[in-house]
Amino acid sequence: MSAAATAGTYSPASAAGEKRRERKEELRRHLAEDADWPRADGRSFHDCRPAFMQTGPTTAASGSAYAEFGKTKVIVSVFGPRESKKAMLYSDTGRLNCNVSYTTFATPIRGQGTDNKEYSAMLHKALEGAVMLHTFPKTTVDVFALVLESGGSDLPIIISCASLALADAGIMMYDLVTSVSVSCFGKNIIIDPTSDEEAWQDGSLMVAYMPARKEITQLTLTGEWSDGKITNAVELCMDACSKLCDILRERLKDASSLAE
């Protein structure tokens, strides 16, 4: 069951090679200065990209969701609870299987459309703290995430979209999980980085957060950070996660009202 789309998402004009090179040089020049400068797409440091989310794009799945954040496009399907494979041992609690894959056309350089095992493990870790596994013993819930276009900050969007899909499927959860990442440039912290920004970052931090319960299900840190900056970055992420969760709840309520 699909919900009506409200706000449209912005799509930046496709940049030519020349424009892209200019933008990268401008970004490199801005990195040297420690000031609040507008980013390549016009955002300030603490602005997220426009978000579009929708439930129910995959009719065959128990639940599904589609998300766009700027250029990043993700679709997640949830199947189950269904019978576990015979090879698996008996389990008093349910199982959660996650699989993240990229399409061949997701990246600027055409790839092979590989499954991303690292992202699958991280998605599983982010979600298993929120799903009530004891409510479906002996069965399995499968989450399939497909990245249609990779535009930066892919994994946080996959986690938020998967949480929306699980709620759409009627899987019992303690709370919705939303996720946001930040990048570190010198003394500055920018939120929801794009691919270009991720390529030049000094470090990155990703938080998967359950806003209603105020609990973090996953924290991933790379690069160089000072202690004080980590605290600021985590608080910035949690605040952004809470705002994103409000969007998810609105989307679910719209879908729920339309179903009546």
């Binding site: 199947f79 189950g80 576990s84 009530m132 709620a167 209603a212 998810l248 679910l252």
Partner: protein, 197 residues
């Protein structure tokens, strides 16, 4: 006894994690207790169920009625409709197709053991005279079973074969709780027949 819901029209829509009330309420379906709060665990409408008359606990129960609950899953105590897939000397394998009155999206494997076929003369049960592959049976889920199958039981009058075909392909009509007769040829075959309601 079932209590009627206060709000027949359905309350506000809540999503997982949202606060439903404090410890003055009991957590019902679709809700869970979190310390002193009660929170929703699925998306749906919030309902308040008054306490049953005469109960010691006078707290109301808050529950969430899901707009789109996930597919049916067999639970111990559920009555299921299954199709027999394999009959062996001591057990029969069956694919669960319906749980209570809801169809499952993907099949679950069930197993009817020899001792669960009927309530009388358990030692003398012959599996091949109780079920045939392809029969549709109504059964009760005894337990989650093992890694391979749920344990099913037909040891009640209302449980057993509800639809079957004969060897020649005709529909079998129940004539007693142990026999069915072919419509076309009149041939009588042995089955553990469910009592028709």
């Amino acid at each position: 006894m079932a209590a009627t819901a206060m709000d027949h029209d359905g309350g506000e829509v809540v999503t997982p994690g949202e606060l439903l009330g404090n410890s003055s309420l009991l957590a019902g379906l679709g809700a869970y207790a979190d310390g002193r709060c009660v929170r929703a665990s699925i998306t749906g409408h919030r309902r308040l169920v008054p306490p049953p008359p005469g109960s010691t606990d006078q707290r109301s129960t808050v529950e969430v009625v899901g707009h789109k609950a996930h597919g049916a899953v067999p639970q111990p105590g559920s009555v299921v409709i299954a199709r027999v897939t394999k009959v062996m000397a001591r057990m029969a394998s069956a694919d669960i197709m319906c749980v209570d009155s809801k169809a499952v999206k993907e099949k679950f494997t069930g197993m009817i053991r020899q001792q669960d076929v009927r309530a009388t003369e358990i030692d003398k049960v012959d599996m091949f005279q109780s079920y045939r592959p392809g029969d549709i049976v109504r059964a009760l889920v005894l337990s989650l079973g093992d890694a391979r199958a749920y344990y099913l039981s037909t040891a009640q009058n209302e449980l057993g074969v509800v639809s079957a075909q004969s060897i020649t392909g005709g529909t079998l009509v129940p004539i007693s709780w142990t026999e069915m007769q072919c419509e076309l040829t009149g041939q009588i075959e042995q089955r553990k027949v469910a009592k028709v309601e």
